[in-house]
Amino acid sequence: MKNKKNSDDKRNFISIFYEELSNSSLTIIILSIISGFIMGGILVILTSPEVYKAFGTSFLSGISTSWKIVANTYSSLFLGALGDPAKIGAAIQSGDSALIQKAFTPFLESLVVTTPYLFTGVAVALGFRAGLFNIGAEGQVLVGAIAAGWAGWTFTGLSPWIHVPLAMLVGALAGGLWGFVPGFLKVRTGAHEVITTIMMNYVAYYLIYYLISSPLRDPNEVTPKTPWILDSAHLYRFFPEPIRFHLGFFIAIAVAILVWFILFKTTWGFEIRSVGLNPNASKYAGMNITLVTVAAMALSGAIAGMAGASEILGVTWRQSQALASGYGFDSIALALLAQNHPLGVILTALLFGLLRSGSRVMQLRAGTPIYIINILQSFIILFIAAPAIIRTIYRLKKQSVKEVSTSTISFSAKK
């Protein structure tokens, strides 16, 4: 005992700093992201025939070729996501507003891609907080989109001030319904939400396919498509035509902040988190876990539904049968990365949005397939979920307090 105290006294500034750094979960997150990029880089090198050729001539040229390929891949990824800094600088100096807009287009486009991620990420994070694994965001996005679209072209003669919120609300309600069903089934019958939400995804998929192919089809189109939504239902776009950056982005940020407020500053949010951490204890403390679970799942679905609504009202303006978005599935990784914190989701959604939007340019310029993004994501999740790996690689000190990791109740967990 005495010994330990002595050694504590001797700690100097650097060791305290090092310990704090090791204990911070932010360190782990940043190192995870960096490591994810390193692993992706290694993969790019391993799968480039040029590298093997260069190593055939000499070791040095092999190293330099590897470096060139990785640098080219990641630099075009960032160029695609953020825009060319040289162009941006030149545009700002010239002061021409059209040029400035053009230079910022890639970044604004990334924000457009970020918007649905924000909604779905918050939705999945909210579910996790309540101990619910909502894989159904994909289906909730789809029904939200079609419902908002329906409201967008059906109600005529409304002012945008009424029409847009109305359409968003209809989308949220549809998504909420899609979340409510698995939540309800879970509390009433114990059906596990992982399976029911997957089933709901398929039901949503076929339902939308059917709706677009007949009842909601625009009769003037050759291929099945819905009609265009009315102008009054368009989410406001801040810039002229080619730039699609729209109001939905700020709505999504507001939703993230609102959910953070609910989760951490209200009694109801406390109940959600408490039920997620320990349903039994919450029950004995007198909370109504049935109500909390159903409400959390429905709210999660509603927020995911808003993702679909903001896509159709802000970006596509109509729905075709090319449905798969992938936003719902990516958002699982995204929420985990944010440690299910709604404000953290803002950052990780931005990261995912930048990656997704930049990856298209990367594939064109560097010839690296966009799917490198999925591999990056999977490694980042791996490192975040198993911090012990990161601690071993970077020789960080073992954390004294046990980390609270994200946990989901498994298939047979008792109600």
Binding site: A386, S410, F411
Partner: protein, 428 residues
């Protein structure tokens, strides 16, 4: 203080509650019967005929096609549904209720087929043969899930293991031949299973997160490699594995109707039968199976009795990965003979549903796999028939049925008790 009166009251209430679980499905069955009788039958002429052709070209013994009166057949189906519903209300099916719900689903679909094919003919045998083929990845995936979950490890990475297996099978199969392809698929599955095991057993990562990570990784890596290498026209030889040809089992395949449906397929279908039987015996009739299951139900007790919990779980994950990898090879080596991006199309997740539907039991998984397979074979048939009701509505049916079964209107399906819970040895 409870008086006997209160006790009686509680008993009555409990009785009512348990009956309510029993009555709902019964009422539902009868509603289905009414729907068939009142909605479907009404639109059919009394003399209309439906033909189910039962012969596929090369069957030796030809039997006559089944031609029957559409209305009569529909009445029969409605009668069956009503009968099942009445029995459910009066006596209750208790344990077998999942199968009954499956049967009702089957009857409804059959009813729609009879109704839709009224006045024309439909290849009944062909459709069921397709059902068996399409059930393969779902059943094998479900078996993979059973293997790991019976030992207490949730494996939602089946989808990822399957796509990896499909890829390895196609590429190695193109270079070294079909059998090497299968071997590669099994190995890559085992590797991913090992990753899942290390993450969830050693690092105690939440098993669902670990599984999600493997899914994202495999889907990403196979798509990445596909675009990078296999799309190039110069590299086409890397993705031309070909596939296992069907082999008609002598004698068995000659049985009319049954033969072409079950015994005229390729390796993967027979492997599925074999695996179902093997696992049923191994899990429930051998010492190994008892130990395996005890680890999934009560690891502490198993540990106390000298079963090595960690080793059992590692083995379970690797075996599960091997089976899933093999199932994935079906997509490339068993069906189209090449790899395509995202060719598993969510079958790994359906397999999970089939596993739960089949109550973590290999035979149940086979039944559930057949149900989903039937739904898929409908897809192709319905588009040919110019069906009067939208195909998509019918296609939703298996998913809705799964939810109804899961929802345990019928009594809860119970997985292994320690499923998904990491095991920690208590230190003394």
């Amino acid at each position: 203080m409870e008086t006997p009166m209160q006790n009686e009251k509680i008993k009555i209430i409990l009785n009512y509650l348990s009956n309510y679980r029993q009555h709902i499905p019964g009422v539902f069955f009868i509603l289905v019967a009414l729907f068939i009788k009142l909605v479907l039958t009404k639109s059919i002429e009394p003399e209309a005929l439906t033909t189910f052709s039962t012969n596929i070209n090369h069957t030796a013994i030809q039997i006559p096609n089944w031609v029957f009166n559409t209305r009569f057949a529909l009445d029969l189906i409605a009668g069956l549904c009503a009968g099942l519903g009445l029995y459910q209300i009066i006596r209750g099916f208790k344990k077998g209720i999942s199968s009954i719900i499956g049967a009702i689903g089957g009857l409804v679909v059959l009813g729609f087929l009879v109704w839709g094919a009224s006045g024309t003919s439909i290849s009944f045998t062909g459709m069921l043969a397709v059902m068996v083929i399409r059930s393969v990845p779902i059943t094998i995936g479900a078996l993979a899930g059973i293997l790991s979950e019976r030992a207490g490890i949730v494996n939602i990475a089946i989808e990822g293991m399957m796509i990896a297996g499909a890829f390895a099978g196609a590429v190695i199969g193109s270079i070294l031949g079909l059998w090497a392809g299968i071997l590669a698929a099994i190995l890559i599955g085992a590797l991913l299973g090992l990753v899942h095991a290390v993450l969830s057993i050693k690092y105690k990562v939440d098993q669902i997160i670990s599984g999600t990570m493997i899914n994202i990784f495999s889907t990403g890596l196979t798509s990445y490699l596909f675009i990078k290498f296999l799309q190039d026209s110069q590299n086409q030889w890397l993705n031309e594995s070909g596939f296992f040809k069907p082999y008609a089992i002598p004698l068995l395949s000659k049985i009319p109707v049954i033969g072409p449906i079950f015994f005229d397929h390729n390796l993967f279908i027979y492997a599925m039968y074999f695996l179902v039987i093997l696992l049923s015996i191994a899990l429930f009739k051998t010492k190994w199976g008892l130990r395996h299951r005890s680890v999934g139900e009560h690891p502490k007790a198993a540990d106390t009795l000298g079963v090595n919990v960690f080793r059992t779980r590692y083995l379970a994950c690797v075996l599960s990965g091997m089976v899933a990898g093999f199932g994935g090879a079906y997509f490339s080596l068993g069906s189209v003979g090449r790899f395509e991006q995202t060719m598993t199309a969510g079958r790994g997740f359906i397999a999970l549903a089939a596993m739960i539907f089949g109550n973590w039991n290999p035979l149940g998984a086979l039944q559930a796999g057949m149900l989903f397979g039937f739904a898929e074979s409908l897809t192709t048939k319905l588009s040919l028939l110019q069906f009067p009701i939208p195909a998509e509505v019918l296609l939703m049916l298996p998913y809705i049925i799964t939810m109804v079964v899961l929802a345990g209107v019928v009594g809860r399906s119970r997985g292994p008790a320690a499923d998904g819970i990491p095991y920690e040895k208590e230190s003394l």
